[in-house]
Structures are given as structure tokens and as C-alpha cells.
């Protein structure tokens, strides 16, 4: 890893050159429908970006797994069916001033997307994208990245991590992609004052999120599996409306549906659309049988998948502690609170609960 100093002017020049070369640059900007909120959107100049204001409403997921995307198009004639493939290579893009939790989420989801079968649509976009993250200074009480083992200064999933210092940024270059992006910008000289300033900013940011939730212990995933039938799941889910908003804003929820859509009697497309385990139809069999009939079972699936199934399959928690699910939930469900309650239970009842397993 190398370090550089980037002035605000350097960063502005980088954006200008990328835009001039028709590279899509995405950054947090004021939402068009609500100036208090931010969205990750394409920018034309650095001045379009709103930095250090708030976490964007949605994560970076949609740039890699769009809410809806065409998997193939088909044409059906008397002679048969012709399939038109979709390209799996994507146009180069740069994501600027990403939140570290959103950058980390992509690396977590990479595991399932590369599980035996490689999802070339996902990885086509991953490979074409360079991610420059910015030290997080915008946390609120819903944030709990440090409980997951990340932090506001995590460089996981980033090609470059920026930390604000006097007059600009300390740029930590994490990957060759980051190196290629920054090689002509800023200076390799980082003053001792800038270095000290960056470290102070890191410490201050960490302190602001550290007490939001206790760290999740390694044995928690096994406890959740053992306590699949614990009575707590029923009462915990009472406030859950099953709307699935949590899954939409979640940077790591990746479940999808595949459907065909006619465009005419002869042709149409096959699409992949975001879906959520909170929907009753998600697991409904053709026979009418549904393995997850109640909302408490569907809520349990969400928690189990993130904090037990994924850790046991991929050695990763399927959550980055971004807090979006808590902020958006119309029922007032709060994930750090829920985890706190479950972890307290795991401490007081370490054994398998009565009625578990069978």
C-alpha cells in the first residue's frame, strides 16, 4: 500500500478528466426529490458531489446488481427460438467518495456470486469499477460497522481510501486499480502534519461508532443455528410488516427473482429482479405448500441468513452495519437492538433452547 496527498484541486481535476474521457463517475449527491437525503448518482464535476453530509439512502448494490436487468432476449418464430445474449463486460466506472461500509459489502457479496458458478454479470461490473472510499464522518445511532469487524476507516473493498486532512486528502492506495487511477494526481509526499491529522481523524471516527453495539462474537453464528426454534423469534418479529424495505436498502441482500416479460407475441426478455425473503411468495411451492408461512419465520430467515448461514458457508457476516434497515423500517425494527437482545440471550442461555432442532 502506498500513500499520496491529494489536494481538493487534484480531486477535481481527476473527476474532470474521467468525465471528459466518458468514464461514468458516481458520487453521493443531493437527492432530486428530497434535498436532505443523498443518492449515489453520476456527477459531471466534483462540485456536484455532497461529501461528508449523510449516508446515501441506497447502497452501491444497484451499480452491480441492478434492481432489474435483462439476462437475455428471445425471439420466437415458426422456425424456433433465437436467443440474444447480453454482454457480460461492463463500461468502466469510478465510484468516488463511497462510504467504507458500502465498499466492503461488495467484497462480502463476491463470495456467493463466485460460489462454484461465477456470475459474470456481477463480476463484469465489479472488474470495470474502481472504488474510491472516503473515511466516514457521518455516522448516526443506527450505525454499527465496528460490531461487524469493519469501521469508518475500513479499506475493505476499496481501491483507494481517502481521509480528509488540511487542504485535501490522504489517499491510501490499496490495489493496482487504485494505483492506475491516481498515478498522475497529487504528490507522493505526505507531510508529517497531514499524516498526524489523518490518524486523528481515523481515531475520532472510530470512537463515534464504537459504542453503538457490542462486537459480534465468532460463536454467535453457531448459537443462532442451535436456537432456530427459540421462542424469541415469534415475539421479536411482531413489529415486522413484511414489507421488505430492509432488503431493498441493504448493501448485502442479493436475493433475486427471474421472470420473462413479453414485448410482443414474438419477442421478449428474461429479467432478474430484486426480491426479498420477507415476501410470502418467496418460498411458496406450486402445490400451495409454503415452508415459511408466517412473518416470524421470514424474519428469522433474514437474521439467520446474515448472521449464521452466510458466516458458516462463506466465513463472512452478510451485513456491514450500515444501519439502513433500521432507518427505513416502518415498524421501528432496529438491527443493532435486535442483535444486542440475541447476543444477551446467547450469553444467558448458551445451550440449545428447548424445542430446538426438531
Amino acid at each position: 500500500m502506498t500513500q499520496r496527498f491529494l489536494s481538493h484541486a487534484d480531486l477535481g481535476a481527476l473527476v474532470a478528466e474521467l468525465v471528459a474521457a466518458h468514464t461514468r463517475v458516481i458520487a453521493p449527491v443531493r437527492a432530486k426529490d428530497d434535498a436532505r437525503q443523498l443518492d449515489y448518482l453520476p456527477i459531471r464535476a466534483l462540485a456536484d458531489a455532497a461529501l461528508g453530509v449523510a449516508l446515501p439512502r441506497r447502497s452501491l448494490k444497484e451499480f452491480f446488481l441492478p434492481p432489474t436487468e435483462v439476462l437475455l432476449s428471445y425471439r420466437q418464430t415458426k422456425e424456433g427460438v433465437e436467443i440474444k445474449e447480453v454482454p457480460t463486460q461492463a463500461q468502466p466506472q469510478v465510484i468516488l467518495c463511497a462510504s467504507p461500509c458500502d465498499a466492503a459489502a461488495l467484497e462480502v457479496v463476491d463470495k456467493v456470486m463466485n460460489w462454484e458458478y461465477r456470475d459474470e454479470l456481477w463480476f463484469g461490473r465489479r472488474e470495470a469499477t474502481t472504488i474510491v472510499s472516503l473515511l466516514c464522518s457521518i455516522m448516526d445511532s443506527s450505525c454499527f460497522c465496528s460490531a461487524i469487524g469493519l469501521g469508518p476507516d475500513s479499506s475493505r473493498g476499496s481501491d483507494v481510501l481517502l481521509t480528509p486532512v488540511e487542504g485535501g486528502y490522504r489517499a491510501q492506495v490499496i490495489t493496482p486499480k487504485g494505483e492506475a487511477l491516481l498515478k498522475d494526481y497529487g504528490s507522493a509526499e505526505l507531510s508529517a502534519a497531514a499524516e498526524a491529522g489523518a490518524e486523528a481523524a481515523q481515531l475520532a471516527a472510530r470512537a463515534r461508532v464504537a459504542n453503538n453495539a457490542p462486537a459480534i462474537p465468532a460463536e454467535f453464528s453457531a448459537w443462532l443455528a442451535e436456537n432456530f426454534d427459540h421462542p424469541i423469534w415469534k415475539t421479536m418479529a411482531l413489529r415486522c410488516n413484511g414489507c421488505g424495505a430492509c432488503a431493498g436498502v441493504c448493501p448485502t441482500c442479493h436475493c433475486f427473482d427471474i421472470v420473462d416479460e413479453h414485448e410482443s407475441s414474438e419477442q421478449g426478455v428474461r429479467r432478474r429482479n430484486w426480491d426479498s425473503c420477507q415476501m410470502a411468495k418467496f418460498t411458496l411451492h406450486a402445490s400451495g405448500h409454503n415452508p415459511r408461512q408466517s412473518q416470524s419465520e421470514r424474519f428469522r430467515q433474514r437474521i439467520q441468513h446474515k448472521f449464521s448461514v452466510y458466516p458458516r458457508r462463506f466465513d463472512e457476516i452478510l451485513c456491514t452495519g450500515c444501519g439502513r434497515c433500521s432507518r427505513i423500517c416502518p415498524g421501528g425494527m432496529n438491527l443493532p437492538e435486535i442483535l444486542g437482545e440475541l447476543m444477551a440471550l446467547a450469553k444467558s442461555e448458551p445451550e440449545k433452547s428447548e424445542g430446538s432442532g426438531q
Binding site: L71, L72, Y74, Q76, G80, V81, I83, E85, V86, T88, V112, M113, W115, E116, Y117, R118, D119, E120, L121, A225, F228, D229, H254, C255, F256, D257, I258, V259, D260, H262, G268, R270, R272, D275, C277, F282, T283, L284, H285, A286, S287, H289, P291, R292, E297, Q301, Q304, H305, S308, V309, R312, R313, G357, Q358
Partner: protein
């Protein structure tokens, strides 16, 4: 290559099994794909009717029968209804084979008990023909098959063929009330038939597929006969979309039916959360 891209297959034969269940015989359109295609008994695929979507079925034909595959389905949803509307010569999509398979090689030199209920005979039939096409490699073969009524029995021509062979024991049954005046088989629920006809579990593998309630009531009967849970194999049929471990739909606890299954032993199923 995009992993969601299906191969094109031509329908070469259609058999109506019951009023609502149909078997399609399919051949790959691309000879190179046909030549490279291999699968094992128990594996499944995603079959598509273009314009309607994809549906998950096992491959119902045996891997010993080369050059084609068959699938059997009940017209119950959007895709299966569309697959019923199309005819011989028409094109469907196929992705697969996916998932694990029955332990045919491990079963060599042992006896096999096949148990199926209703359309659950489809995955079992794949294994039955696999064993029958290599009959001398296995000891006793017993098939117990039941349906709600005589009209609901599938693969009727093959049931007749099996009845005439002297190297298979075939027990057919329909639920009480489902018999016709001509019916010569049993009239009883499947677990009872197993209790009456299957004498021993010694040196025997059991392969059992059917509706969840049938599996649930049959497992204790097999246990009573002395079948070890590790020797009882079944398939789980969770709703799936991708078949590739990505879409997040088919898991039971940390078990992904599409990747770890669809074939599981009764012992494995007992260890899973009971959410299927």
C-alpha cells in the same frame, strides 16, 4: 459465459400421464451441446417456456438412455401451463444439470427399495431405469408406488412393463376411494403398503420421493423395518429460481437445496431445521 443462458431443446415426444401431468422428451438443438451433456440420476434443471419463465424439475429419464432427456410436470403455475400449450417440434430452454445425485455407484451389489407417491415417481423413475439398465449389478429391486387414485398414477405403460418382469417386485396402491372396479393393486395408504409388503431392510438402500406428508409418514415405517437413516435417500423440492446457489431462495438453515441437494439422506434431513 452468462450462467443464466439456457440451451435450446426441441420437444420430440409428448406423453400425457394423467389429466394434468405431462412428460416431454427433449433433444438438444446444438449437436455439440448434446455430445458434451452428462448427468447423474437425481439431478435437476431449469426448464423455460420463453415468454413465461423458468421452472425447476428433476431429469426424469435415466442417464443410461443417451441422446435425450425427459421431464414430467403437473400444470399448476404460469410456466407449467405454458409448457402444456406447446407441441412436438417446439423449443424450450434448459439449464443444468444442477445439484447432487442418488448414490447409484454406492448401491452396486446391494438391494434397492424404491418408494414413490404421485408425481414423486419422476425422480425415482430416473434412478429405477438407471438400476434396471444395469440390472445384474444390483441385488433385489422392489418398487412401491402409490397415488391418490388410479387416474393419478403416472408412467402407466412403464408400470405394466415393470409388472411383467420377474426380476422386480412391484407393489402398486391407490388411496381408499381412488380405486376403480378393474383395479388389481392395493387400496391403502402408502406407508401401510410398505409395512405389508417389505419384509427386510437388510443390505438395502431406500430411495423415496413424494409429497411432504407421505415422506413424513413413511420414514417411521422404514425405521421400524430396520432401515438406517443413512440408507434412506429422498429429494427436497424447494422453490428455486437460479439453481446455482445465488438467488437465496431454497435454503433450509445453512443447507442450499440447489447446491447441497436435491438428494438428502433421512439422517441429513433430521439434522436440518424443520422448515421444509
Amino acid at each position: 459465459m452468462n450462467i443464466y443462458q439456457p440451451h435450446l431443446m426441441r420437444i420430440v415426444e409428448i406423453t400425457d400421464e394423467t389429466a394434468d401431468t405431462r412428460t416431454l422428451k427433449l433433444e438438444f438443438k446444438d449437436p455439440a451441446v448434446a455430445a458434451a451433456f452428462q448427468f447423474s440420476a437425481g439431478q435437476f434443471g431449469e426448464y423455460s417456456a420463453f415468454g413465461e419463465g423458468e421452472s425447476t424439475f428433476c431429469i426424469a429419464s435415466s442417464p443410461t438412455r443417451k441422446g435425450y432427456i425427459e421431464c414430467s410436470f403437473k400444470a399448476s403455475g404460469k410456466v407449467t401451463k405454458a409448457l402444456r400449450r406447446i407441441g412436438v417440434g417446439d423449443t424450450v430452454g434448459f439449464r443444468g444439470p444442477y445439484g447432487n445425485h442418488f448414490p447409484i455407484e454406492e448401491m452396486k451389489g446391494h438391494s434397492v427399495l424404491f418408494v414413490a407417491g404421485g408425481i414423486g415417481l419422476a425422480p425415482v423413475r430416473c434412478a429405477i431405469w438407471n438400476v434396471l439398465d444395469r440390472r445384474d449389478e444390483f441385488k433385489d429391486v422392489t418398487i412401491v408406488y402409490g397415488a391418490r387414485s388410479v387416474a393419478d398414477l403416472v408412467y402407466k405403460r412403464e408400470l405394466e412393463q415393470w409388472a411383467q418382469r420377474d426380476d422386480i417386485r412391484l407393489c402398486l396402491t391407490v388411496d381408499p376411494g381412488g380405486q376403480t372396479p378393474e383395479w388389481k393393486g392395493d387400496v391403502a395408504f402408502l406407508p401401510k403398503v410398505i409395512e405389508n409388503h417389505v419384509v427386510t431392510a437388510e443390505d438395502t438402500y431406500a430411495l423415496i420421493c413424494g409429497p411432504p406428508i407421505m415422506i413424513k409418514l413413511t420414514l417411521p415405517v422404514l425405521a421400524k423395518l430396520g432401515f438406517a437413516a443413512e440408507r434412506i435417500y429422498t429429494t427436497l423440492e424447494n422453490r428455486m429460481k437460479c439453481g446455482l446457489g445465488k438467488c437465496g431462495r431454497c435454503n433450509i438453515g445453512s443447507t442450499y437445496v440447489c447446491k447441497d441437494g436435491p438428494v438428502f439422506t433421512a439422517a441429513e434431513m433430521l439434522k436440518m431445521p424443520q422448515e421444509f
